[in-house]
Symmetry: C3
Subunit: 391 residues, 3 copies
């Protein structure tokens, strides 16, 4: 960590500059349009949204919100460098900082935090930092490949953020698999931790339209907002219905409401800015809600048997909805000036890179020099934090 900060300092000193609009010569009139407001919305999602959503573990809340802050702070610095290099490697001179680069750094953090969700409670901070270090590199390569070379449509990042983050994380979780993780005594929520997790859920829900529209502009930005707004609303109603249908006594499960209600935002992300009619966004949200809720009750337990223990169920909130988004965007692409083939190639490349690099990264951080966590300490704050009062 200390080493990183020193290296980062030097790299920033050598390569990073303010974009011309942030220089006196620009006579710029502060920030352009809603870009700054949307950046702050996304900023809330990354640090409050993801951070509190993961506090659902009753004995791991310090780590959830604390490590989320640490990881995201690390990633926004590191990804500013890696994305800067990748986006202009052919004729590289300097990395320019502007609102867009801040948004790009924040949404890269989203991908890493999704992976964090898959291994939540089972790693040391050192393992997390090393994982993030490598994931950011592979993320930057894949994102550049998909958007600059394949030129796929993925405004909300369903493919390059959600699919990448989810399957990278699941690959790491697969490598780090420990039988003791399944049905672990500490893995569970308390009444209070379920409430604080809802803080995360609701802020993610509220600002998701900004997430899908943050890097869009003009009429595309507006459609991205409107489509996401209605997709989430339809997805939420559906999640409640399906959650209650799956319970013998017709009750709701908090894990569904905390997560599946958001799946609609992922599912429309790749095409929300296109001429996607609102009813189709809603239909997509409905499908995502159904798939996500079923995922928590049936697919996650199944994966756990297959040595993939997914603590937050990122496959249900990010993975599968991202696959839905890929299919939808491939269909819509035909109607727009995008190619269905390229959309297919994009998700293919993303799955390949994320899973492969996730496996490699998993084997690297498995080395005990990165002080891996003993399974009896899983989902427990006390090994990492001075816990004032044991509860």
């Amino acid at each position: 960590m200390t080493v990183f900060e020193i290296v980062a300092l030097i790299l920033f000193a050598v390569f990073v500059q303010f974009d011309s609009v942030a220089l006196p010569t620009s006579h710029a009139e502060s920030f352009h349009g809603v870009s700054y407001a949307m950046f702050q919305d996304i900023h809330v999602m990354i640090f409050v949204g993801f951070g509190f959503l993961m506090t659902f573990l009753k004995k791991y809340s310090f780590s959830s919100v604390g490590f989320n802050l640490l990881l995201a702070s690390f990633v926004i610095q590191w990804s500013t460098l890696t994305l800067g290099f990748c986006h202009s490697w052919s004729n590289f001179s300097h990395i320019l900082i502007d609102t867009e680069s801040l948004i790009a750094a924040d949404i890269c953090a989203a991908a890493i935090l999704i992976s964090f969700g898959a291994v939540l409670g089972k790693t040391s901070t050192l393992q997390l930092i090393v994982m993030a270090f490598f994931e950011v590199i592979f993320y930057s390569i894949n994102e550049t490949l998909c958007l600059q070379y394949l030129k796929i449509s993925d405004m909300g990042g369903s493919i390059v953020i959600h699919a990448f983050g989810a399957y990278f994380g699941l690959a790491v979780a697969f490598v780090l698999y420990s039988r003791d993780a399944v049905g672990h005594a500490n893995e569970g929520s308390s009444y209070q931790s379920d409430i604080s997790a809802m803080i995360g859920t609701v802020f993610l829900w509220i600002f998701w339209p900004s997430f899908n529209a943050g890097l869009a502009s003009g009429d595309q930005q507006q459609r991205a907002v409107f489509n996401t707004y209605f997709a989430l609303a339809a997805c939420t109603c559906t999640s409640f219905v399906v959650s209650s249908l799956l319970d013998r006594e017709g009750r709701y499960r908090m894990v569904h409401i905390q997560n599946s209600t958001l799946a609609g935002g992922v599912a429309v992300g790749a095409s929300a800015n296109m001429l996607l009619p609102i009813w189709l966004s809603m239909l997509t949200g409905i499908i995502a809600g159904v798939v996500s809720v079923i995922g928590y009750d049936y697919i996650s337990p199944f994966l756990a048997k297959k040595r993939i223990h997914d603590t937050c169920g990122v496959n249900n909130l990010h993975g599968m909805p991202a696959l839905i988004a890929s299919v939808l965007s491939a269909i819509i692409a035909a109607t727009a000036h995008f190619s269905t083939a390229m959309q297919a190639a994009g998700i293919g490349v993303t799955l390949g890179i994320s899973i492969l690099s996730g496996l490699i990264t998993g084997y690297i951080i498995k080395f005990s020099i990165f002080d891996d966590v003993d399974s009896q300490d899983f989902h427990l704050d006390s090994p990492h934090w001075e816990v004032t009062i044991k509860r």
Copy 2:
């Protein structure tokens, strides 16, 4: 619910379109001015503000924040249709989606959530959805009547949102009255639930200026913000003073701080955009604070005796302050290009429609086919949720 989503899909498919500014032909420069930022402020109020404010019930927090999310998601879809029809029924062609329509849908949700507060803990989700289904229709009719035909001044919606929502909810509560609801064992807060309720209070407090100014423009929008800002500040100081005066030992009551501090925002809502001097906004805030605090200690218990059990005390936070707003706006109207008579007519019509339609709706949802809640299950999550740990 499932049925609704299917019907909604068809209606959206047939009638809903993007506004021209959200189409490629518009060459629109993304969002105009602060409209999007204010929409997101209001969005936070609806989902975080109302949702967490109602978590004060110690054994009903899952339902408070969860059903708030469900109801609001349902309402923003349904009201987009009903408001769209009502606003242009004479020459109806299509419903256009733009930032204003999103704000309109969100503030309609506010009215329904106010009614939810009156019956909090005493209904099933099915009853809530049916209640919301009818309330949205009557809300749309009343809102169109007041704003388009009577042309009343009500920028912050004190009359069409707060008065309507409060008295509709109280009417439903009157019909659903059960003696057991009064002084119910589960009706009460815990130290933690009072803290999480404050999350709601503070976010409502912070963004209220955006709520009262969201649909205004130009200099009116600025005055709406400034007047609301100072009205809330004065109301808050007053609420603390009166709360302490009403306690034998001079202590404060959380219920006053959680609710009455917001009454000033309601009371200036109907005229905040007019040439209302700031000192008058503050005076209005002070009066609202006094009335609201006294309401919690004296009027709510009195109403409970009269078969009106108001769980959240919406009469104190929304009802009576809205009446103050009506009086103030009627006075100010004379000085502006509005008619005192019309303001009076507006509040009259609103009270009539809200109470009448509330009574009807109450009798409808009372039918056991909407699985009403047994009084011993009042204010309890466990009948509706898989509660991991009983507390």
Copy 3:
């Protein structure tokens, strides 16, 4: 309090007017640029950020978030008057209300809330209001002196807000010193209170760029945002590293993560808008993080021995980082069109006025007529609030 509201009403009635842009004659196009969005970001910091950050005390959470709301509401009214007078006393006619005056009132509240942090749990509300009454006057004088006469560079208010608030508060704490306050049984956090404190931390962290850039414009505003963003990220990583290094078992301490992660925002505040290269902002953040964490473990206990009991450790989060900011700004000033001498004079004047006026204010509120709190009631809600359930 009642008296204040009446006097305030009269003063507002006589002196306060809407700025011309908020009048019909202006034909203003609502709010200019991002000013309103940034105001709301700062508004969240004051009421949610400061309010919840101080809820870390397990038995004083009602008071922390409640008194924060009361104090800030009082201050934004009172400082609107005092700042209005000071800023134009030479040729005073009226106080004009616009977005900038709202931001100025909010950031004055920040200074008072910092002082509140130093005496948290050891005063009555009456003492707090009297303290705030005097502090706002001295704050306005010092701020006017530094910015209008010495013309120092202090865009983020590191000197006039953070240094002033911290040392005023420490001076008051020194006067109110009671041996019983040190190692008091009620002074401590619970698992839940540490989590709710993180709500405050993360919102302060997220919106700090808006705090440092709120009153800037053009390219300066952009640089203020970018520098603060990276300073906070570097500071956060550093705080985690140092926190773990200081613990025998390498664990993190919540108090460091809740506070020190924010020190970077203070340290760059005075020069974030200048041509400060990003790597230097990061270096500043790193230094601030180290100093702040060490401060909590070594300097605070030392000060407590010297009769200065600093409940929230405002010296570590605001005081020392503000001194770092002063040094940095004095250096940078030479490169910009600011004078190093003036920067030095600015911090000198600020320290002098804050400490002197703090001592005076301390002796005033020590009089028992302001019902001071008995030491056995320190850090306890029950003397001030009707606590539903004793915990």
